[in-house]
């Protein structure tokens, strides 16, 4: 009986240590493991001009502008703290639209704007049939 108890304590201690180590490592990786930077994370005095980065956030309402060439778009990415103007030349995914999530891959420019070479649409956790769309959005804005 005593040996069994010792093994149980040892196994539980090992499990706690392993999970603790995992959580520590995961929180240490907070910056590195993030898939994209939000506009609020961007330090404008130290823009990473020399490498490709991802910028993610919401597309600001009524900010999408199309250039006359038909393939270049300009829009503003916001996260509630800051905004970044983005331009992109190419085909945007179907789900790319105003007030929805986007992840842009590309480079920051010296003036703080962002030139994207690729766009990904970020889907949120809400799923609903088309006829409910307006309703749920209204209740959403009421509670906010």
């Amino acid at each position: 009986m005593k040996a069994k108890k010792q093994r149980l304590i040892l196994a539980l201690l090992a499990l706690a240590a392993v999970i603790g180590a995992g959580l520590l490592a995961a929180s240490g990786l907070k910056q590195e493991a993030s898939f994209f930077y939000a506009p609020g994370d961007v330090d404008h005095s130290q823009l990473p001009l020399d490498r490709a980065v991802r910028l993610g956030g919401m597309v600001k309402e009524k900010s999408i502008r199309h250039d006359p060439d038909g393939v270049t778009i300009h829009f503003i990415v916001e996260d509630g703290k800051a905004t970044v103007p983005v331009s992109f030349k190419g085909i945007a995914p179907d789900l790319f639209k105003e007030k929805s999530g986007v992840v842009a891959e590309g480079h920051f420019q010296r003036d703080g704007s962002f030139v994207a070479t690729n766009l990904l649409a970020k889907h949120d956790e809400r799923y609903m049939p088309p006829e409910l769309e307006g309703k749920m959005h209204k209740t959403g804005s009421l509670t906010q």
């Binding site: 069994k4 392993v18 995914p93 649409a121 956790e125 799923y127 049939p129």
Partner: protein, 265 residues
């Protein structure tokens, strides 16, 4: 000497206590005796299998035909009725495997290792299914097949952990149960489970946050309801696969023990 006699086909051959592990003392646990476990597992296997398949069929029909489209994703939302159960079973499989590993190491329960060995293969299968369905959904929704995002990367790590576990289990001399080193690996690998679960909360990720939380669901009820039958159905199918694999492994051990006894006689 009763055990050494060869019995006729179809007759029950009693399990000797030394088949699984000579050091085990099965009389200490109600289900440590494989014969008693098999008595329960034999009728449960077809029940799990057919109930599971029925629920999967019903849930798939509901998810493919009866539910409306999503307002943004259109028809591609329907992959959720397979993707979510696959993710749940991939992660739940390793959780069960880790619990079985603890039971094996602490209580030396002779069936715990058999169960862990049986869970590993369907666990890997459902993890792979989760990654594949997610990739198929990601292309039309996000615009990419694959990104090294926190959720996707940690799920891929889980698949590799399963592969490593299967390789480790097969590398040891234990054929029916698993070696102690394999059980320790099963416990250490559990560190990845909370990381997968929290990956979309801790880090900015392309994968959306959790839809179903303690506070409720952000999936409209019209779209959500077939998920219940498919979740339960795939779980029952998973259970049936585990029972079948455990029974096959025990039968193999029984056959080998019998051949050894015959050879010795």
């Amino acid at each position: 000497m009763q055990d050494l006699k060869l019995r006729g086909v179809g007759q029950e051959i009693p399990f000797r206590k030394d088949i699984l592990s000579p050091k085990a003392r099965p009389e200490m646990h109600a289900y440590a005796n494989p014969a008693r476990f098999l008595k329960l597992a034999r009728p449960l296997t077809p029940v799990f299998l057919f109930a599971g398949l029925m629920l999967i069929l019903a849930g798939s029909y509901a998810g493919l035909v009866l539910t409306p489209k999503d307002y943004l994703q259109g028809d591609s939302v329907r992959i959720l009725y397979i993707h979510v159960p696959a993710a749940w079973l991939g992660m739940g499989g390793w959780s069960a495997l880790a619990i079985a590993s603890i039971v094996q190491l602490v209580w030396r329960h002779p069936l715990a290792g058999v169960a862990a060995r049986a869970i590993a293969v369907p666990g890997a299968l459902f993890t792979a299914l989760c990654l594949i369905t997610g990739s198929i959904w990601g292309r039309p929704t996000w615009g990419t097949w694959w990104e090294w995002d926190g959720r996707m990367t940690s799920m891929l790590v889980l698949l590799f952990l399963y592969f490593a576990y299967i390789a480790l289990a097969n590398a040891s001399e234990e054929r029916t149960s698993v070696s102690r080193a394999t059980a320790i690996f099963g416990i250490v690998g559990a560190v990845n489970i909370p990381i997968i679960n929290r990956s979309v909360v801790w880090w900015n990720s392309l994968h959306q946050g959790p839809s179903i939380t303690l506070k409720g669901s952000t999936i409209a009820p019209e779209l959500l309801w077939p998920l219940g039958p498919t979740l339960l159905g795939f779980s029952l199918l998973f259970g049936a696969i585990v029972l079948m694999r455990m029974r096959a492994n025990l039968a193999e051990a029984k056959r080998e023990a019998r051949l050894r006894r015959l050879a010795a006689a």
